[in-house]
């Protein structure tokens, strides 16, 4: 065969191969499979599975399919399949999954906690409450003993405990609750000791041997809510007799009357959000100028203020700027029609990166998802944001923390600590992490970077801080988001 003939032979062979393979591959790519029994093409779907830990075994309807994750089960006809994922020394994940033709059913965020979780106590001091810092490097501990109520900072990465501030115990003014407010740069901590008769405001610098500053030495008391200035941890904004003032902690300089007629305020990024005496909600710049009425709608205003005459709300702001308010009475409101979301709500928490609010009432964990609202472009007047019941327990839920990857939450009830899946299609799966005996007084924190769970529990009748490793470190790398969510700091009752 000459060179030219050889070249032509190769060329036309490849052309033929292409025209044979390309349709076959495209059909397969679209999920079509040839069924020799019926001599026809059948549309199929895929189940895609990934887990942590990796290399877990996957069973489909009881039969072993794959010996290690991640894996994909393809060429599945439409229907329901029971999928089981298991690994030695880890709890088992079981879920019925619906497979649709030409679609991928994804179960790619399966977390398997260890079967045997070994908690260990961290400190000898009593710890009633823990609150994480913004950057999740520190855990602030509130410790109350016979002598004082103290606040410590625990550096989780360096394993170091620092004393920040304390309030001596007084029979005339026992401390009922403590509020913690962290500066945006995480260098300072504002501690509000709420006493029976009076409050004390202390600003502590988060480092060893720093002397805390008592605000009562700088300004007259009482003051209403206090927040750090978003641009400088040495400046504070506080409300006194309806007037918003600014204080420089280091210089002692006071700037009075930035805004007047306020009932309460929040500082979020570079804006001040405030309620006024005449039941309006405004936003303004940090110098109090360019105020914008955020609730021109009378209906929502009536709702907001009608629910709670004291106008005390916890505010939640999603990355895209959707707002939720949770009143003391348990009414959950949103700035999207029809404004009213739910009632008898005990607590709520936001996802860090998406438009999801998780809230709980009694033993039910619910999801309010605003993201599908935008994607499906629903008529706001007909339907509000979708509500999904994620999980139910026969015990009331005390608190919930959503993991950074947004697919799981640690849920604490009055007796148990449970890992729950928050993906609505997969919800119902739960893993028991442990039990506790602190009832509603338990506080906990999950560090996504370290994969460690911290919680308070009784040891010989003394509240103690425990921790346990659940997953490998940096399992959930930082998720990039242009904006983060915001939620008002909680008042911690002792």
């Amino acid at each position: 065969m000459g060179l030219k003939q050889l070249r032509n032979f190769i060329f036309w062979t490849l052309v033929l191969l292409y025209f044979v393979l390309a349709p076959v591959i495209c059909f397969q790519a679209l999920g079509f499979v040839f069924d020799p029994r019926t001599i026809s093409f059948v549309k199929t779907g895929i189940i895609s599975i990934d887990s942590e830990p990796k290399e877990a075994s996957v069973y489909l309807n009881g039969a072993l399919y794959a010996e290690k994750t991640p894996t994909a089960i393809s060429r599945l006809r439409a229907g329901r399949y029971e999928v089981r994922v298991e690994a030695p020394n880890y709890q088992t994940w079981v879920q019925p999954l619906e497979v649709r033709a030409e679609e991928v059913t994804r179960a790619e965020h399966i977390l398997l906690p260890p079967v045997a979780i070994k908690p260990s106590a961290l400190f000898s001091i009593p710890v009633q409450t823990i609150v994480p810092s913004h950057d999740e490097r520190f855990l602030f501990l509130i410790s109350q003993d016979a002598k004082a109520t103290a606040v410590y900072a625990f550096d989780m990465k360096k394993d170091r405990l620092m004393f920040l501030a304390d309030h001596p115990r007084s029979p005339d003014n026992p401390i009922a609750s403590v509020s913690l407010n962290i500066s945006p740069d995480d260098r300072r901590l504002l501690v509000l000791f709420h006493g029976k008769t009076s409050d004390e405001h202390i600003v502590a610098t988060i480092s060893d041997r720093a002397i805390p500053i008592s605000l009562s030495k700088l300004i007259k008391m009482p003051i209403a809510n206090v927040r750090f200035h978003p641009r400088s941890s040495k400046e504070m904004l506080y409300l006194q007799n309806g007037v918003l003032n600014q204080l420089d902690l280091e210089e002692g300089i006071l700037k009075e009357g930035i805004l007047k007629g306020l009932k309460s305020f929040e500082v979020i990024e570079d804006k001040i959000y405030y309620f006024t005496d005449d039941a309006h909600l405004f936003s303004a710049n940090l110098d109090g100028k360019e105020a914008i009425d955020l609730l021109p709608d009378r209906g929502l205003r009536r709702l907001l203020f009608g629910q709670n005459p004291r106008n005390t709300y916890r505010m939640f702001l999603t990355p895209k700027g959707n707002a939720f308010w949770l009143s003391e009475k348990g009414t959950l409101l949103t700035n999207r029609l029809p404004y009213f979301a739910d009632e008898d709500v005990s607590g709520a928490t936001l996802s860090t990166i998406s438009e999801k609010l998780f809230y709980w009432k009694a033993g039910e964990l619910w999801l309010l998802d605003l993201s599908d609202l935008e994607e499906k472009r629903q008529n706001f007047f007909e339907r509000g944001p979708s509500k999904t019941l994620l999980w139910k327990s026969n015990q009331p839920i005390v608190s919930v923390r959503v993991m950074r990857e947004d697919n799981h939450a640690i849920v604490v009830t009055e007796k148990k600590i449970v890992l729950v899946e928050t993906e609505p299609r997969l919800s119902g799966n739960q893993f028991i992490i442990g039990n506790h005996s602190l009832g509603r007084k338990i506080t906990f924190y999950f560090n996504d970077d370290l994969g460690e769970l911290y919680w308070t529990d009784l040891q010989d009748e003394i509240p103690t801080l425990y921790h346990a490793k659940l997953f490998r470190p940096s399992l959930f790398p930082f998720s990039f988001s242009f904006r983060k969510s915001y939620q008002s700091p909680e008042e911690v009752f002792l």
Binding site: L3, K4, R7, I10, F11, L14, V15, L17, Y18, L21, A22, I25, C26, Q28, A29, L30, G31, T44, G45, I46, S48, A72, S74, E102, E103, V104, R106, E375
Partner: protein
């Protein structure tokens, strides 16, 4: 200023001269750019609006690219084998053999038998088997001789063949020119048969004259003749392009040949870049290929360009591009029916004169002259691949950024070869003697090669990923969204075999490392191929798209000299 005015007049005249043709010309100028942009934008549009069909198209494209890559790799290896086979061939001896073909056949048969004996002996005694490359070369040579013996036409005596070697240049360093002329001096072809012409531009001024004098002093007595020409600026109908300089010089040569009474049909002209260095056997190989062709006067001869002059100084991304150019020529040489001349090449002086010399208003004179001849001879014209290399410089700038910019400009100029498309299409419309199938094949080849040049790099690295990035939620849950990245990964993994072959070949082609160059440099040659995904879109696809877009919009390119360092 004068040159610019002339250029404007030229373009205006072109527009006015053939009123009917101007519409067709514009259509053909727009077509390649339109096709490229249409392809890119259509895929992008569907990726955003209907991602599932777009994803299916992307799969089909990846598969097409992959099969094309296999084909090209096979041709590359085959061409390299042929080139390597003839590496040690004494072409002058073969030229001598042509004076008596029957005797040559006998001698070749004897040599072949002797080689076969050596191989058998080695196999019997289990000694190292002698290289069979020589065997294959002799076998191919014998076949050629036997084929020649069947023709009645007696080839020329090679001693009657003259070679005109043209070096058009503008503002080139003297040492670059000296290096090129020195390589001619070192060939084993009779130097008294070489007529060397160094073609300067008059607008270079006194510097050109000084260089001409220096070259004359050093090289005058070596060749049959060393001529220098000074091309005037602003001649009517001309642009400031290399072809205009080459044509001016060729006309001077024509006068000289007439004075010496040398028949044009005995003259081969090689138009080289100023930095071109030929191998020892170049003219022998050229002469041999000329003599054995029955239709020799209707042929151009294309060597394989390599860029070894300053290989060890060039940055990796520049090296890999020029190696790719060499590979492309090797691949093209495997399909001589569609081969078009590129860069430094040779042809019959008779054909050059009859076709009207190189175009004086086009940048891509190297390929344009082929098409001029093809159209002039009504399709009876071929480019013959030669098993010889010519070495040139890799473009290097003052720093990496400068190098990057110069290479971009050079690639854009190469891609500007698409300016031939309207000329060829108009020629096809006017020439009925060329069979329709030939016209269709050449048209498709030109369009396909230029459109793929401008789009594939971008499709592979950017556009192909648009369905994945912007497909939306519905697409994200589809089976095809699951399969597309996996199919792509599988194809690209398989394609690394081709990259590996290319890397291995690059080691085999590269000259021996000089002592002053560290071994580490050798190692970097292996890893330079990892830059391919970055280089493909930026320094291959974008310049081509740039060139086609300019042609589409009527913003014609000006010739920018690639200064050699």
């Amino acid at each position: 200023m004068i040159a610019q005015e002339n250029e404007h007049d030229i373009l205006k005249k072109r527009a006015d001269s053939h009123h009917g043709a101007v519409v067709w010309r514009r259509i053909f100028e727009i077509t390649p750019g339109f096709l490229s942009w249409f392809l890119l934008l259509a895929v992008a549009f569907f990726a955003l609006t209907d991602p599932i069909p777009a994803a299916v198209f992307v799969i089909c494209f990846y598969l097409f690219w992959f099969f094309r890559l296999i084909y090209m790799t096979i041709l590359l290896v085959a061409s390299y084998v042929v080139l390597a086979r003839e590496r040690n061939t004494n072409w002058i001896e073969r030229c001598r053999d042509l004076n008596n073909v029957s005797v040559a056949i006998k001698r070749a048969q004897e040599r072949l038998s002797k080689h076969e004996e050596e191989v058998k002996h080695a196999q019997r005694t289990r000694e190292k088997v002698p290289i069979t490359r020589r065997l294959h070369s002799e076998t191919a040579y014998l076949r050629r001789l036997e084929h020649l013996a069947q023709t009645t036409e007696q080839p020329f005596d090679f001693r009657s063949i003259y070679h005109v070697v043209l070096f058009p240049n503008y503002r080139e360093d003297i040492h670059i020119l000296k290096s090129a002329l020195s390589s001619l001096r070192e060939t084993n072809y009779p130097l008294e048969r070489l007529i060397v012409v160094v073609a300067f531009e008059e607008r270079e001024g006194e510097a050109a004259h000084a260089k001409a004098d220096e070259l004359s002093r050093e090289f005058k007595e070596i060749f049959f003749n060393l001529m220098t020409s000074f091309h005037p600026d602003g001649l009517p109908g001309e642009r400031q392009v290399k072809g205009a300089n080459a044509t001016w010089a060729a006309k001077k040569v024509m006068e000289f040949l007439n004075e010496e009474k040398i028949a044009f049909e005995q003259v081969l002209v090689s138009c080289f870049d100023a930095d071109t260095r030929v191998g020892k056997e170049y003219f022998g190989c050229l002469t041999y290929n000329f003599l054995i062709r029955p239709n020799r006067l209707h042929c151009s001869f294309q060597p394989i360009p390599v860029y070894h002059n300053n290989l060890w100084q060039a940055p990796a991304f520049a090296r890999i591009l020029e190696t790719g150019s060499s590979y492309w020529q090797l691949i093209e040489s495997a399909n001589p029916d569609h081969l078009v001349t590129f860069s430094s090449h040779s042809m019959s002086f008779q054909a050059l004169v009859e076709s009207g010399f190189w175009p004086v208003d086009m940048i891509s004179d190297d390929s344009a002259i082929f098409w001029k001849c093809f159209l002039h001879y009504k399709g009876n014209y071929r480019a013959i691949p030669m098993s010889a290399t010519v070495s040139m410089n890799i473009i290097i700038g003052k720093n990496w950024l400068d190098t990057f910019r110069r290479i971009y400009v050079q690639k854009r100029r190469w891609a500007w070869g698409i300016e031939n498309f309207p000329m060829v299409m108009l020629g096809f419309l006017e020439t009925r003697e060329i069979p329709l199938i030939e016209k269709a094949r050449h048209t498709l080849k030109m369009l396909e090669s230029h459109v793929s040049w401008a789009t594939w790099g971008l499709m592979l690295t950017l556009v192909g990923w648009l369905p994945v990035l912007f497909g939306g939620r519905e697409y994200g849950f589809s089976v095809v969204s699951y399969h597309l990245p996996r199919i792509a990964q599988m194809i690209f993994n398989l394609a690394t075999v081709s990259m590996l072959i290319s890397a291995i070949l690059s080691f085999m082609i590269v000259p021996k490392r000089p002592a002053r160059v560290s071994r580490f440099r050798n190692l970097s040659f292996a890893f330079q191929w990892l830059l391919l995904p970055l280089i493909l879109p930026v320094l291959l696809a974008l310049p081509a798209l740039d060139a086609q877009t300019r042609l589409m919009l009527g913003r014609y390119l000006h010739f920018e000299v690639s200064r050699k360092v």
